[in-house]
Amino acid sequence: MNRLKRKFLQFCLLATSVFWASCSALRPHERVFVNDPEMQMGQDATDNFSNYVQSIREGATPVGNTKGSGGCGCN
């Protein structure tokens, strides 16, 4: 089982390296789509509140949650 896990990890590392290396640079005029506001990875104010609710209603805290404190989430 451990050997299988190690092989799987090695495969993931190799696949990631090949994937990363295959990304070629874009010229400015080719960035129309990737620069679109909807394509950005960040969260907007509506996402922030949904994340806040999830961080209280789920034992698993979501990545990038904006909860300022542990909060009581009394109910």
Binding site: H29, F49, V53, G59, A60, G64, G68, G71, C74
Partner: protein, 398 residues
Amino acid sequence: MNKKYFLIGSLAFCQFMAKAQTVPDTSVFKPSKTDIELVYNHYLQNGHNSAVTGGIGTEKLVVYGPAINLKKSKSSHQWLLNTGADIITSASTDNIDFVVSSASKHDARIYVNPGYVQEIPSKKISVKGGLGFSMESDYLSVSALAGFSKESNNKMRSFSAQIQVLNDDLRWGRVNSGYYRPVRLIYPKELRYREWYDQYKRHTYNLKLGLTQIINKRNTAGIFPELTFQNGLLATPFHRIYFKGDIQAVEKLPDKRWKFALALKWNAFLGGRTVLKNTVQFYTDDFGIRSFSYENETAFKINPWISLIPNIRVFTQKGSRFFAGYKEHSINDRYYTSDYDLSTLQTITGGLALKYDPHYRLPKKLWLHSLKLRYQYMNRSNGLTGHIISLVVGMGRE
């Protein structure tokens, strides 16, 4: 003959030297000097597994949440402010009031998060720092964060790191009339005959990393690991436990907790009008909770100003080994909670957003940049339901 060659040569040289008209890069949105976001969040919830009443009883709750986000930019400096309040009307908060054991049906959370970002364009680095302050009747949280992000020279890759430290105090009384100061921990009214905990502080240390990569003209991917360590009072003092045989106590959890979460994101621009945003997330901690979620948000651009954005999220969680329901815990258990947020559960959340980007000029050099209205419905496998409504008005001033 010489004149002819001279003329042709001169024209060719002029054409070679002439500068073409510069085409502005309209794809990059240039932010205003001051950006203002007015936000209103509304949350309605109903269920029947309240931890305040030991895993039974109503979880009916309404949150009214106005907020404001400000961003002031000047050359390479940015000043940020996020502030707001959550007014909470809760059916079971009336059982945790310290003065009278009922009728305290309102609670409030007030928060202020100032921040600062310094960009170093020559090195493609930005450095940020921030403070956080959040207060409710039974909770005070003070936090600080520091981080940086670095973009590769060809702007194809960016890496970010952030560390945050939170210091929480769980004593009650700060926003309660007649007190306005921390008094002591608040227990269920019938369990106030003794002190159940010898500490009232909770410390949280959080490390967030991020790596984003532009794959090609239409695809972007990112990987976001997050590691958190907590110590101190991790249980909630007013959560009741009913053991088998009608013995009663307050929730008890370990005083240390490690959490690890990993999010993988992939955004794709399909055709000329559709953007797919996918997020897969894994989570594990040493309370025994494991979770997996998949989220998709698809933006359909109806025209350059209006977008329709449906979203769906599927979440599944394996519960903590410290969880058991009403009258299911044994008196011999070392740790115990009947908080269904820590139980085995599945949640489906779905909704729709409407986004309008008018870039409409208002008086006093103000611009109305965007309006976004989003509704989400949440359904949890134990019967808990929720409605989340958010309205964001984005404005800017040159």
